[in-house]
Symmetry: C2
Amino acid sequence: MTSYIAPTKDQQFLLQEVLKVSASDIPGYAELDPDFTAAVLGESGRLASEVMAPLNAVGDKEGCSLENGVVRTPTGFKKAFDQLKEGGWAGVDMPEQYGGQNMPAVMGSAVNEHFLAANQALSMYHGLTHGAASAILAHGTEAQKDTYLPNLVSCEWTGTMNLTEPHCGTDLGLMRTKAEVNKNGSFAVTGQKIFISSGEHDMAENIIHLVLAKIPGGPDGIKGVTLFIVPKFLVNEDGSLGVRNNLSCGAIEEKMGIHGNSTCVMNYDGATGYVLGETHKGMRAMFTMMNEARLGVGMQGLGQASIAYQNAVIYAKDRLQGRDVTGIKNPDGPADPLIVHPDIRRSLMDQKSFIEGARAFILWGSSLFDQSQRQGDTNADGLLSLLTPVVKGFLTDQGYAMTVQAQQVYGGHGYIEEWGMSQFTRDARIAMIYEGANGVQALDLVGRKLGQDGGKHAIAFFEIVKDFCKNNPELPEFVEPLKQASKDLQAAMMYFMQNGIKDPNNALAGSNDFMHMFGHVCLGLMWAQMAKAAQSALDNGTADTEFYETKLGTGRYYMARQLPATGLHLARITSGAKSVMELDASAF
Amino acid sequence: MTSYIAPTKDQQFLLQEVLKVSASDIPGYAELDPDFTAAVLGESGRLASEVMAPLNAVGDKEGCSLENGVVRTPTGFKKAFDQLKEGGWAGVDMPEQYGGQNMPAVMGSAVNEHFLAANQALSMYHGLTHGAASAILAHGTEAQKDTYLPNLVSCEWTGTMNLTEPHCGTDLGLMRTKAEVNKNGSFAVTGQKIFISSGEHDMAENIIHLVLAKIPGGPDGIKGVTLFIVPKFLVNEDGSLGVRNNLSCGAIEEKMGIHGNSTCVMNYDGATGYVLGETHKGMRAMFTMMNEARLGVGMQGLGQASIAYQNAVIYAKDRLQGRDVTGIKNPDGPADPLIVHPDIRRSLMDQKSFIEGARAFILWGSSLFDQSQRQGDTNADGLLSLLTPVVKGFLTDQGYAMTVQAQQVYGGHGYIEEWGMSQFTRDARIAMIYEGANGVQALDLVGRKLGQDGGKHAIAFFEIVKDFCKNNPELPEFVEPLKQASKDLQAAMMYFMQNGIKDPNNALAGSNDFMHMFGHVCLGLMWAQMAKAAQSALDNGTADTEFYETKLGTGRYYMARQLPATGLHLARITSGAKSVMELDASAF
């Protein structure tokens, strides 16, 4: 019952008028002229709308099944995955050397939004493959790259990441999976991994598992962890598939959502594995994949909010219920459409202003990635590192809240499965949990990223905000609230510095609030930048006044109704850790 | 995998030390001495924990099925329902004349929390029966009362409420179900009703449907609506069951949650119905049931948050992950329990402080109901009428948010169905929707209740807050934040008065925020009252210092970290309707 239209116009605005990609000196950006980006987004949008979105409910209803070690994906998933492969979509931003199209990450992200919104469960199969390819690209030997990358970039093979075990998720130092060296220098990997997305399925001829394990005799805890490439089928020297490796899917989980993606218990029984990167430095290699995955999961928050919003708008315009208190709007009908009612508007504006701000935020993050990767800009890399937990944590918390609001627009029809809104909520829920639960993101932000490199990336962020405000006094509706919110954020940081030394809990008890206020300031900055671009188009006599006026109006809503949340977060943070920590564990 | 322990100690504290029921002059309260209430709550708690809670996951997994017009409930539901009947639990607060135990509503509520927390889907069968009985008690003829009440009070028969049709939910004036008078004075009811909870099932020998319909020739819209008693089996003069009525269950819905409750499409094909109350005044009669149901749904928000919290606490104490940054707490184990981590504490404190505040709020509301019903106190009735949308809307929005937080404590284990946390979230989601979606509650609050009787009930509420603050200056940690929050709420009301006249959208665009800030002030007041009672017990040398110190600590958390939300809501409200309403519908 649901539908999806790719937000290409909004993406074009962001790419060409806000980020101004074709005028950028980042290598590869010059090719991103408006016609080119429109053509690419048009095609990926079509695939998302016409092929992937119609399978979303099918995947939810059928789920995956495991029989005799074989996992079957839902009807139509393989055919859609084949179309994705044929279009080369999985390798949009991968090097040409390995069969990719070598576009910047900013385009990879824009395309990925379409797929993740249209069908999150299906998109996870190639999303994780991309992550595995990135890890091998960054840390693999030339031989490993040649062996695995062409087939991962094309999605002939897929990839996974194996971290979690039954007794450990966040605390990977507790890991029990072990890897013992074989005579030929490879390793025998033994252990059980759980919650492995796309761990086993019927859509690709091989699956390349990246598995964290401990080599006996190595350092204790997280410092003794090594990352291994553990293929489902070993690969012969000529590139053909060799023997089946000693690994199997023991079970698939029943979950709240993303039923179309197989979440597997994976058993490794002396499976042959090859060290990726250096021994005992597995976390460094895994973090290449994990950081990418965290940005991708932030995109899932945006994606589900976006498709849910689109459908809520359709329903709000279609469903007749009650009358506009300021005067009948649909005199020929028995009632006015839901969208006339102020609280429905309030909800739709919450959603719309979040979605468009989040879209800008992720594309900005992707452009920082491009600066880092293509220009070797370590400042961009550091800033992205600071923003990664905000993208992941804030966008998935808020994305979920907005998806729930979209579901709410449907009333009772939102709760029954027939209309499809429940699935968006159930699917969106996972994004707050995997790739590091959002509490872990907040901890990473406050406990690690904020002070990284002497705090210079946080300072750089505030400089960006300050410069924008200084240079754009003609936009007071945007600049003034942004200044206030940024001031709140700085005050929170100051509180952490002054009080976290006495007791680190004074900082950590405020970590969730800090992540959220940071997210709001980022979206406030995005809205200010978008407002500037929109105002500029209007000043230059654009014919499409409706688009730009709408952009300004949506931005004003965010500044008036969402950004002031920073004040509440600050109040909570500065109330300190005492009320959070004073009770004995026995008192709960 | 989940468990439930009834919060009897906390309820005893509220009944005996905060509401001081046994010292109250409300008729029936004198009997509520501590031993009596402890005995009642002990028994209902036992039934909830030992019989109903273990069936919660069974109900979710099996759901209900419809075959040849017969709806089967999940394994064990009927047996548990029989135990509920045998214990007389459905009629706890019903008149003795009809087989009830005639306890005050405050006890009915306390008992009901146990059942709704332990198994919401199962409890809805008797919950709606209670509502139908209340409507017949208030609006039925003596003959109707004699015919239906004994069997409804005992739950030999169950009841339903039939309002929604496919094209209308909130806007009942659009209703198409019609009722034409028969020769014998009864009516023939024809039409389709949807989303009928407990509409058909195998747990009772008769089902008494209360159905809204229009008598042709009556007034248009909502003023032409009449409420009918439409039994599944007609009742003979001697009380025995007669012919099967012309009504049937056409389908049961697949839903996000509450799978154990049958949500039915009900078809009435000239079914025999009897007017309940007056013709064309059906909404008045239905509102007796609906107001009761709204308080019950608010209790569902509390109930799911409460059971989810209990299980989150167990997991947080059990799951070892990471180390306390201020010093190792579990040196003999491989890691410390989750509960040492500040953000886990923050989440548990959010939950705990909400749950205990909400519990106090609902019991206060129930005591207002008792004052109204047992003492004819119209002021109490008016105040409860004002608070009803707050109980329903705020407690279900927040209850859902807290259930999601409890699920989050489990990380990935919260997302898979095996652990049971997902069900709490899925079940809790409905409470924000049914009995009037929360946007409708906010509209009812701001558009109707606030100004009712010249605004005197709102004024009375502020007087209660003011008196408490004036009389308890020795509790500044509670009184000062409460004063500020109450000031914010009054400022919002003032804004509505000054700006709503120019444009009602200035009020309605802030309705959701107002409902939430009102809820926070109510919980702030509850916490202040609880703090006073706790402080008094400590001053009087109680032996159980841990309980009362914990109560004070939990209250301080609410005042420091939750109550300041009123400032954000006020900022949103006073930003006015412009940013909410300015976009054309086409711009979404």
